[in-house]
Structure formats: C-alpha cells, structure tokens
C-alpha cells in the first residue's frame, strides 16, 4: 500500500466571475488517497471541497473554470487533467464514481431505478437487457433494499429519501469502482437514515476494497467513517492526518474551532465558542463554563397547548378524501424564558405544530391558550394583535427574506404593517438599534438580502422578529441550513436574546445535539404524536421510549476528543 490510488498535487482552480474578476476556489491543495482507505474532506461552505471533487471527476464547468496547468491529479498512474474527454468519460462510472447530496434530484424521475442502474452497466460493461437487470437486482440487494426484484420496477418518487440514496450508491458501485466520491451523501437525510447509509458505505468499502473520498461539513460523521481527514478552509488545506490523531490533538486553530463549536450531547457550555474565539485563544476557557437547564412548576406559563390536532386531506378518486393526521393530540406548556425543544424525523409533524400555532395553517382541533385567550379560536382580525407576539424564524434564510426589499425595508415592515414605531425617522433608528443587537453593520440597512451570507441572513430574520417584541419565538430548523461555525454564532445570539428579553422559544430541529444545547425541556415526536416529553438532561440521560432511544443511538459520536478540551 505504498503507492497512492489518487494523488492530488498543488491543485489550483480559479473561477471567472466576470470580465475582470477571478475567484480563487482552490489555492494549491495536495493530498493522497491510498487504496482501500476512506479519506474525509471536511470544510464549511466555500471551502472548496466540492470543487476538488468535481475537478477529480473532470466535471467543472468549462466556460469559467480555470485549472492551473501545473496542477496534477494522478489516478492509477494517469494524470486526469491531461487525458482526453473520451478517456475521462470511460473512467467516470467505471473506475471513479460519485454519490451526490440530493438523491431525489440526482435520479431521473422518468425512468425506473432498475433502468437507471442498468444504464451504467450497459454503458461501461456492455451488458444487455436481462444480464443488466439481474445485476441491478443483485446490487439493490447488496445496498439493502427489500424485495429488489419488485423494486427495480419502481420510479424514484415511489421510494423514500434513504432508499433513493441507496439506489444512488448501487449505481455508484455497479462497476466496482476503485474510488467512490461521496459528496455530502447524508446531509439531506434524517439522523437514523444517515447512520444506516454511513454504515452501508463503510461496509461496501471493506467488502469491495475500494477507496472512498468522503466530502462533508460534519466532523462527527468523519470520526465515524474516515481513516484520514483533510480539513479545508477558503480553498486551502489547514490540517491533514489520521482522523484519530487530528481529533485527539488538533494542531490548527481552525480545526480546534470546528471541533469545539458544534454542540455535543455530553456537555453544555454557557456559550458556544466560535472560530474567532479560537483565533484569539479563548476557546478552551469558554468550554468550561456550563449552563444548567430545566424547568420547574413555579415558572410562569406563557403558552398552553391542549390536544392540538392537524389533519391534511388529499383528494382520492372522484369524491373520496384521504385524511392524513399530521399532528395528533399534542399538549404542552411553554414557560416564560424557557426553551422547549421539538425533535423528530422528517414527517413527524414537528414543523406543522409550529405553523399551526402561528396560524399559518388552521388547526383541525385543539386549543392554544396565550394571554388568557384561545388563539386558535380567534378570528383573523382578533388574532392580529397576538400575531406579532408569536414570531417564527424559518429554516432557509435564503428563502424567507423578500429578495426585492432592502434589509432596512424588511426589518421596518412589521412596524409599518402594525402602524407602530412612530414616523420613518424613529423607525429607522429602531432598525439601526436592532442591527447592532444582532451584530450586523449599519450599512446593511441599504443592502439586499442576496449580499449576505446564510448566517447573516438568519440574523436579519431574527431582527425582523424582534421589532415586534414577541413573547414567543418559534425557531423552525433555524440553524439547520448553516455551517457549524455560523450555527454556533446564531445559537449564541438566540441565547443572548433569551437572557436579555426573557423570550420563550419553541426550538424545532432534527439535530439532537443542537436541541440538547438549547432546550430546557424536550418533546420527541414520531408520526404526529409526542412519544416522550421531559427535561432535556433527563431525556438524554435516560430515554424511556424505544423511539427516543433509537434516535439518540443514531447521533454520530465521532468526536471522542471533543470532551477532552473541556
């Protein structure tokens, strides 16, 4: 195993943005992938990790990507940057193959999965109809899809997200490639499915003796799967080495920060350290101050929900209606200044609870008592004054801000809608105060949302909610779309605001570690029902419900060294 299978040397890639400007995506990176080894390429968005993968496959857009002539990508004794497009095509799918992040959009919706797997075989192995089909069945069985003979006739939409990703993996390993590139293959999946897919990739890697280049932003996943890790930031490699060694003793401050800023389930620091803290050398101190969580009966209740139900109807046939119970009999009390965490996998109804309380959906039945009124029974007009007191921060900060309004207009809008805040002058003054509060520069006022990064946009959304001085803030997966370091910053901001204004949060997330960090109480939902509801420390320490246990077991615990920094 002395000779590397893939050897990347001084890879430099630039993108042409317009006539004058070039963006340096990769600033000379070098790393090796040995045969029969899993290497993880870790970094946050913009680190260039996906660009590296696309460069290896020769899939960079030709119009604006410039690869430095001195760069070398050697695979099996050949320089991938020098071979002809035809040779490259022959290589892709047979010797190197790739799994993408979104299985739904990577599979062609108009062909059956059997046909799509067969296509790879027909293309690269010259197999014909029946032989290809038989092999497709074998492959589906290998990736753990039940009844593969039946499933090869299925279209992608008939399968769940996890099964689709399994089909993608089946396609990728169809020709027994030497190198499998997995680009964030589990990011779009639920935590329990994520674990299954990771286990499957690890198993296949051993069985077929292939090498895996695993691209991810999630360090915890890396710890579970990778032999070696390459940490990237802004197109440069910050650190690389044996996973265990890097995790136990990270040399680079960025790696340290990445390891530390993600909340873990075993400890709860007062504030999460962010990258700047590490750059300033404060990181380790911050880890040691811890915060205690929990609720007591004496805490005043701001919102009491009783037997909340929400049904959706789908038309079936000519007259038939099919009822889908999205939320079934959910009851809870939200206490002042406390956070209620709501966890569950996709389809568990946790988001529906939030939207129904905001009356963005009408509830089917149930009550929600807020300030002495059942807000679910009020008319639209009567609800308006309460509306501003319960606010929501959505998951995707790229979609929740109107792209045609400036930040100033966005934050000022609630004041205009409710006719508050005095004249334009005093409204603008309030906006500047709020911008300062959420840590954005004053000049943001005149800018448009697209000029901001994801974390900054989420701050804008938070500032918009704050204009109405709400009592309750519903955070619907509000940090899920953010990079870990940014996630830590936004979580810190939410925590600061809670401390300052005594806000109550309903914190909805699929990320159990984040929920553990933020919540005083946690409610676990499965298929519309609350399966367990307890103080967060109690729930995580001794889960009672089997579903909760399964969820907690699926959390990647790949950062053994993280606790050592405390």
């Amino acid at each position: 195993m002395s000779k590397p299978l893939l050897s990347v040397r001084d890879l430099r890639v630039k993108f042409r943005i317009d006539r004058k400007n070039l963006f340096e995506a990769l600033k000379g990176i070098s790393f090796d992938v040995m045969p029969n080894e899993t290497v993880a390429l870790v970094g946050e968005s913009g680190s260039g990790k996906s660009v590296a993968a696309l460069a290896i496959l020769g899939l960079l857009p030709k119009e604006n990507a410039i690869i430095d002539p001195a760069s070398v990508i050697e695979f099996g004794g050949r320089d991938l940057l020098k071979i002809t497009p035809a040779e490259k095509r022959a290589l892709r799918g047979s010797e190197i193959s790739m799994i993408f992040q979104e299985p739904m959009s990577s599979l062609n919706p108009v062909f059956t999965v059997g046909y799509q797997i067969g296509e790879v075989l027909r293309e690269h192995k010259g197999m014909t109809g029946t032989a290809a089909e038989q092999r497709a069945v074998e492959l589906l069985r290998e990736v753990g899809i039940p009844e593969p003979e039946l499933r090869i006739r299925y279209y992608p939409h008939q399968m769940s997200g996890g099964q689709q990703q399994r089909v993608m993996i089946a396609m990728a390993i169809a020709c027994e490639p030497k190198l499998l590139i997995a680009d964030e293959p589990t990011t779009a999946l639920d935590v329990t499915i994520q674990k299954q897919i990771l286990d499957l990739i690890a198993e296949l890697q051993k069985k077929h003796g292939m090498s895996v280049l695993f691209i991810t932003h999630d360090l915890a996943v890396v710890g579970d799967i990778a032999d070696r890790v390459v940490v990237m930031r802004h197109g440069e490699i910050r650190e690389q080495g044996e996973t265990r060694a890097v995790f136990a003793n990270p040399a680079d401050s960025y790696t340290q920060a990445l390891l530390a800023c993600r909340p873990v389930v075993d400890s709860r620091p007062k504030r999460l350290p962010v990258i700047d803290d590490f750059m300033a050398g404060r990181g380790h101190v911050m880890r040691s101050e811890t915060r205690t969580r929990g609720v007591s009966e004496s805490d005043p209740v701001v919102l009491e929900v009783k037997n909340l139900c929400k049904d959706f109807y789908a038309r079936e046939g000519l007259f038939g209606k099919k009822t889908f119970h999205a939320v079934k009999n959910v009851s809870f009390k939200l206490r002042k200044g406390k956070t209620l965490g709501l966890v569950g996998e996709s389809g568990s109804g946790k988001t529906t609870v939030g939207l129904t309380l905001m009356r963005l959906h009408e509830a089917t039945s149930g009550e929600a008592w807020f300030d002495g009124k059942n807000i679910l029974a009020l008319s639209e007009r009567e609800f308006l004054p309460y509306k501003k007191r319960i606010q929501i921060i959505f998951q995707n900060p790229y979609a929740s801000l109107n792209p045609r309004m400036t930040v100033g207009q966005i934050i000022m809008e609630p004041l205009i809608v409710h006719g508050e805040g005095g004249d334009a002058q005093s409204r603008a003054k309030l906006v500047f105060e709020l911008l300062a509060k959420v840590g954005l520069p004053e000049m943001s006022f005149y800018k448009y949302p697209h000029e901001f990064s994801g974390g900054q946009r989420q701050r804008i959304a938070i500032a918009r909610c704050l204009t109405m001085r709400p009592d309750i803030l519903i955070c619907d997966e509000s940090v899920s779309a953010l990079d870990v370091s940014v996630q830590a910053q936004v979580l810190n901001l939410l925590q600061d605001l809670q401390d300052e204004f005594g806000l109550s949060y309903i914190f909805i997330s699929h990320d159990l570690a984040v929920v553990k960090y933020m919540s005083d109480e946690v409610m676990v939902m499965n298929q519309g029902e609350v399966v367990e509801h307890a103080d967060s420390d109690t729930l995580y320490a001794s889960p009672k419900d089997p579903y909760t246990k399964k969820l907690l077991d699926s959390i990647p615990r790949g950062i053994p060294g993280a606790a050592a920094h405390a």
């Binding site: 509306k387 929501i392 929740s400 109107n402 609630p414 840590g439 954005l440 000029e451």
Partner: protein, 393 residues
C-alpha cells in the same frame, strides 16, 4: 475583528452604501449588450417620432393633398434615372419618365376591372390617343369621393389654397392616390401603431396580471372560476372573437382597436402570472410576511409583485410587438382604425390595389417601417428577458 461584531463577513464589509437594486443591475446588463442598445435606439427613435407626430410637430398635414396623385418618390429618382440612362437607346422610355414625373390621371375607381387592359391599350396606341379617351369609364363613385375628399380637406384649411397647379409633381417618398405624402402617412401610421401597441399592451397586461394574481394567490374556488372564464374565452377562435367585439363596439377608431386587442389579449399573461403567484405564495418570504401580519393585498402587491414584475415587463414588451402586428392585420382587414386616421395596416390595404399599377412606394414605406420597428422591438424584448433573468435571487 472585534468582539462586538464577531460575525461580520469581510466580503460584505467592503461595498457601497446603497446597493443597486434589481432594475439598476438589469439596466447595466442591458447596456452591456450591443444588440440591446442598438435595438433600444431604434425603438426610442420610433417613439420620439410618434410623440412628435402626436404633438403635431411632424406629419401634421398628413391629410393634405400636397402632391399630384401617385407622385413618385424622388429619393430613388436618381437611381431610377441612372437605370433609364442605360436603357435610353430604346427610345420609348423617354416620354414615360416624363409621364411618371407629372402623371395626371382622372380619379378612377380603384376597383376598375378594366384598368389594366385600358393601360395596355393606351400604351399600344401611344400618348394622347383619342380612342382611349372615348372608352374612359365614368367612375360611379366619383362624386362621393370628391365630396369625401373635400370633407377631408377641410380638416386642415391649407388644402383649399393648393390648386391643382401648385401641387408638387414628386415627393421624397412619393404620394398616394389622393396626393398625400407617403412619408407623412407612414409617420402618422407610426403614431397610430405605437399608440395602439402600447395602450392595448398595457390594458391586456393590467387585466391579465390582476386576474392572474387573484387566481394564483387565492387558488381554490376563485382560481377554478377564473380558469373556467379563461377557458371559455380561449375556446373561441381568436379572429371570430375580434370580429364579434368589433361588431358590438360599432365605432371604428383607435380606441376601439385598443379595446379589442386588450380585451382579447389578456389570456396569455394571465397564465404566466397565475403560475408565478402559485409558485411564490408558498415561498417562505410570503409566509414570513403573513407571520408579521401583512394583509392579503400587501402580500400580493408589496411582496410578491416586485418578485414577478420582470416576468410582467417581458410579457408587456412581447405584447407590444404582437399588438402592433395585430393592429396592422385588423386595419388591413378593414376592422381597424377608421378613414379619418391612418395606420400601416390601412396603408397596406390601399397598397394592395396600387401595386398592380406599379405604385409600390406606399407598400414599401409601410412594410419597411413595420419590419424595422417589430424586429427592433423583438430583439429588445429578448435582451430585456436576458437582462432580467432572475439569477441574482
């Protein structure tokens, strides 16, 4: 980086105070596109011409018979002369050039079926043959036309003074049957076409956008009803619908044409806007607007509309092109503007009879103007769509 602003993105820090919005960015992109700039210049030139004509700065007296009937265009005369020079040796061409220059003909019904035979005969017999005068057909409508001509002449008093002798023997762009300047007519026609094109486009856009917004935003029964209305509207053959409305409205004129085109044309933008609203109403930013308590009206027009306005603008631009062409067709078919005004379509209508007689200049002028404007406007619409491509999300 200070502790007070731990998250400032350095990239966002450097930058101008007031960021350019969608429209200024689109404008910059448009100005970088050479085809767009060229077509915009042409369109603006046409617009200026139309405005000038509207205020009476040019083509004010388009209706005066300032030249002899069918006065030939001199713009091409030198060319023509050069051509005759080459063929002079044949002798018989000489008098014809003269005849062309000062052709005086009695008013003859356009539809005179014997006209061509007559001309042939006259040519065979030579100039001033007595026999031909004798078989001259008496135009049954001569009186009516003369009266009409008089009436039209009264619109601007100048015509009264222009005696037969003072009429120009030839004009730069030639003259029509009545001796009206083709240049003035085509300029006036530009005004009519652009007026009809823009007014009808705006009318159709307003109707289609409002209905589409309501249907797409509210969905459900409202959408069903409007879709049903749309389907009925769309199931009637277009031309029949136009003719029916024309029959109902009775009066001919620019306003009628605008109404016809606007009332029949809203359907295509309705579909587009409806689809856009359906897409946008489920977006998070609209839900966020709902969460802060924005009303339906506010969500529809303050939030969603600016996000789809580029689609509406492109559709509006497309409409202008379509409606300019439609007006030409309508006027050509005789359902367009009345006799008291002129459009390219009515010019083409007249030209179809003149062409047999070899008077090509009216046709050429109308066709050339229409082709240039429509081509330029179409190119501009394409460029506009490219510039507004909402990649900057």
């Amino acid at each position: 980086m200070s502790a007070a602003h731990p998250v400032m993105n350095p990239a966002a820090d450097i930058g101008i105070e007031r960021s350019p919005g969608l429209w200024s960015l689109a404008w910059r992109r448009l100005m970088r596109d050479r085809v767009a700039v060229a077509s915009l210049i042409v369109v603006v030139a046409f617009l200026l011409l139309a405005v000038a004509s509207m205020f009476g700065w040019v083509a004010k007296n388009w209706n005066s018979e300032i030249a002899v009937n069918y006065a030939p265009p001199t713009l091409f005369k030198s060319l023509y002369a050069a051509a005759t020079e080459a063929t002079k040796g044949e002798g018989e061409k000489g008098p014809e050039v003269e005849g062309l220059a000062v052709q005086r003909q009695p008013i003859v019904n356009d539809r005179d079926p014997l006209r061509s035979i007559l001309d042939e005969l006259r040519a065979q017999l030579g100039q001033g043959a007595e026999g031909v005068e004798e078989i001259k057909i008496v135009d049954p409508l001569a009186d009516v036309i003369a009266e009409l001509k008089k009436k039209l002449g009264r619109v601007d008093g100048a015509i009264e003074d222009v005696g037969e002798d003072k009429k120009a023997p030839h004009l730069a762009f030639g003259a029509d049957k009545w001796g009206r300047s083709v240049w003035d007519k085509v300029v006036k026609g530009t005004e009519t076409s652009l007026l009809v094109g823009f007014a009808a486009a705006i009318l159709a856009t307003v109707i289609g956008t409002l209905l589409g917004a309501v249907a797409g935003y509210f969905g459900g029964k409202t959408d069903d009803f409007l879709n049903w209305f749309y389907s009925i509207f769309n199931s009637i053959p277009y031309i029949l619908l136009v003719l029916a409305i024309a029959a109902v409205l009775q009066k001919k004129g620019v306003l009628t044409v605008v109404l016809i085109l606007g009332l029949t044309g809203w359907t295509s933008i309705f579909r587009v806007v409806r689809a856009e609203y359906m897409k946008h109403k489920a977006r998070d930013y609209v839900r966020a607007a709902n969460a802060i308590g924005a009303t339906h009206m506010r969500r529809m027009f303050t939030h969603i509309f600016p996000n789809i306005s580029h689609v509406v603008l492109v559709q509006l631009s497309l409409y202008v092109v379509i409606f300019i062409k439609s007006e030409v067709i309508l006027s050509y078919l005789g359902f367009g503007v009345g006799v008291d005004t002129v459009s390219w379509g009515s010019m083409l209508n007249e030209a179809q009879n003149e062409l047999i007689l070899g008077y090509w200049w009216q046709l050429a002028a109308a066709t050339l103007f229409m082709a240039v404007l429509v081509t330029a406007f179409s190119l501009f619409t394409d460029a506009l769509r490219d510039a507004l491509d909402p990649k900057l999300k």
